[in-house]
């Protein structure tokens, strides 16, 4: 039995209530993530670049976590996530520069607005199948940038918003590393939640809806409404990504979150492994490594390296890196077991 065969056969997910052991395991993954996050913070140290890499990992992870429920689980491809991230970013930027209210207000408003927009878009396309959603949200994404520009009094028009104050807590300016720790924690919390949602009844309903909407409908759950809810939840999470970005980069322009980020975010869950929400986190790390932290030999090759990397992962690790690791463990165990027997 080769690893490849293991990959194919070890697909079957573990049971929902596989007992007490699952309870322990449930905590072990987030705990490991926290440890890795702490190590990452140590690795970053005082290097602004490395700190930024962590921030960008968090940003990409949040965008793709936002896409995880609607796209990976429910199968509805929305192209509006760039707009949602922008909404989150602008909310924080506007709140901090214009109102004098604490930034957290922006963190709340942004996701709410994004969710509302997602609901409207989804209601408008509710009678349509998946591809229409993609088309309409694509058009929405294209129209969104001009709106940002046109709403100049609010958004600063084409130059965007700059000159934001660094985040403070009751006047105290926490060190950047601490803020990054909070950002990573946010990602871990959301990934944990979404991963848990995935295997719960709600998540299972959503995943069933993707393949057999008629069956879900026949059991009494309105699929159009459920789709709308998934899109709204996704939009809210993606919006957090924008808020996070602007809190560290301290400025935002209409061109910051564009369609290309949606295409990037499409890659992420598959790189990490679509079988779990943690795939988004792993995928974001790989993505940032491939785009922003390559040895200088690859400098100037940009998307090419990324795209080739994605293809290689798809070919070598069809279940994503997490899936590959799991298969590897199964394979090693089996070999080891056989050797002893």
């Amino acid at each position: 039995m080769t690893i490849r065969e293991t990959l194919v056969t070890s697909h079957s997910a573990p049971a929902v209530g596989a007992g007490r052991r699952a309870g322990l395991r449930r905590l072990s993954v987030p705990a490991a993530a926290i440890i890795i996050g702490a190590l990452a913070l140590m690795w970053a140290g005082r290097s602004g670049f490395r700190q930024d890499l962590l921030v960008m990992v968090a940003v990409y992870a949040l965008i793709s976590l936002g896409m995880y429920i609607p796209f990976v689980m429910a199968g509805s491809l929305s192209m509006a996530y760039a707009a949602y991230a922008a909404i989150g970013a602008y909310s924080v930027a506007i709140v901090t520069t214009e109102t004098g209210l604490p930034a957290i207000v922006g963190w709340v408003i942004g996701p709410l607005i994004s969710a509302a927009v997602a609901v409207v878009l989804s209601l408008l396309t509710r009678r349509l199948s998946g591809f229409y959603l993609a088309a309409v949200t694509l058009l929405f994404s294209m129209a969104f940038e001009p709106w940002l520009i046109a709403l100049e009094p609010l958004t600063g028009g084409s130059s965007g918003i700059g000159g934001m104050p660094t985040p403070t807590i009751f006047g105290w300016e926490p060190p950047r590393l601490l803020l990054i720790a909070v950002a990573l924690l946010l990602v871990i919390v959301i990934a944990t939640l979404i991963d848990r949602i995935r295997t719960g009844a709600w998540g299972v309903t959503v995943r069933t809806m993707r393949d057999v909407p008629s069956a879900v409908e026949a059991m009494g759950t309105r699929t159009t409404t459920l789709t709308t809810v998934t899109l709204a939840v996704g939009a809210a999470v993606a919006s957090l990504a924008g808020a996070l970005f602007v809190s560290f980069m301290l400025s935002i322009t209409p061109e910051t979150f564009t369609l290309s980020i949606v295409f990037m975010a499409l890659f992420i869950p598959l790189i990490g492994g679509q079988g779990t929400a943690w795939g988004c986190v792993i995928g974001a790390i790989v993505m940032i490594q491939l785009t922003s932290n390559m040895p200088s030999v690859f400098e100037g090759s940009g998307q090419l390296v990324l795209a080739i990397g994605v293809l290689l992962i798809l070919l070598i690790a069809p279940a994503g890196l997490i899936g590959y690791a799991k298969a590897l463990i199964v394979w090693v165990r089996r070999r080891f077991g056989k050797a002893r027997a």
Binding site: M1, E5, V8, T9
Partner: protein, 239 residues
């Protein structure tokens, strides 16, 4: 043209699961052989393995032709036909086009399509409708009709009667008898003997991937099947 189908040591595996383990059976020409067994026993895997639609190991001989080395399309051209279980048709093609595809695959004359349509009046009436809007039974008629195109030398019928009304079933039973009488070998695969009682000549019981030895008449087969099921229930009770 009457040829026997001889299957030796046929195994079908899905990853690590074994669906059929070294099955050896004969389907003599001119006779209707059945493989019965409970759900999940591996009957469809056996049928598909014979047809070449799933990977299988072992030898499959149709007369002197070695089928195991052929791709499924070549097996079809060598005279092997299958009624697969489930809705294995092309829903967005018209009824006629569904048959046309098969005719082209087997390089048959145009008339074969018309003959196939005429096998069931319901199909003829609906020849230009999309196959996907037919009722369950009508779809089954289409699949059966498709398999009978081109006068196959060997027929593999997987749950052929499901979803068909008694009137149609009895017509089909007669048709199968006729086909067998013409010298074709017929393999029927089903979880129940039921209305097929009339047409089955001999058979095997398939239980958890293991094929029994041949039962040379229906009564013996029925008896063997019930005994096998009894064993299962007994085991379950004990467990």
């Amino acid at each position: 043209m009457s040829v026997d189908l001889n299957v030796t040591d046929l195994s079908v595996r899905y990853g690590m699961a074994t669906a059929v383990e070294k099955a050896t059976l004969t389907v003599p020409a001119g006779r209707v052989t059945a493989v019965v067994g409970p759900n999940g026993a591996g009957k469809s895997s056996l049928a598909l393995g014979v047809y070449g639609a799933v990977a299988a190991t072992g030898s499959i001989q149709l007369g002197s032709t070695d089928l195991a080395s052929l791709a499924s399309i070549d097996r079809a051209r060598a005279g092997l036909a299958i009624v697969p279980q489930g809705r294995q048709l092309f829903p967005k093609l018209t009824v006629r086009d569904n048959l046309q595809v098969m005719a082209e695959l087997l390089k048959l004359k145009k008339k074969a399509v018309d003959d196939a349509l005429d096998r069931f009046p319901a199909l003829r009436e609906r020849e230009s409708r999309l196959a996907g809007v037919l009722s369950g039974g009508e779809q089954q008629m289409l699949v059966v009709s498709r398999a009978l195109m081109g006068e196959p030398r060997c027929l593999v019928l997987d749950e052929m009667m499901t979803g068909l009304a008694p009137k149609i079933v009895s017509g089909l039973v007669d048709a199968i008898r006729e086909i067998a009488d013409r010298g074709a070998s017929v393999l029927i695969v089903d979880p129940a003997i039921g209305p097929l009682q009339r047409v089955i000549d001999r058979g095997y019981v398939l239980l958890r991937a293991q094929l029994s030895t041949a039962y040379e008449d229906v009564a013996a087969l029925d008896d063997g099947y019930q005994r096998a099921m009894g064993i299962i229930q007994h085991e379950m009770g004990v467990e």
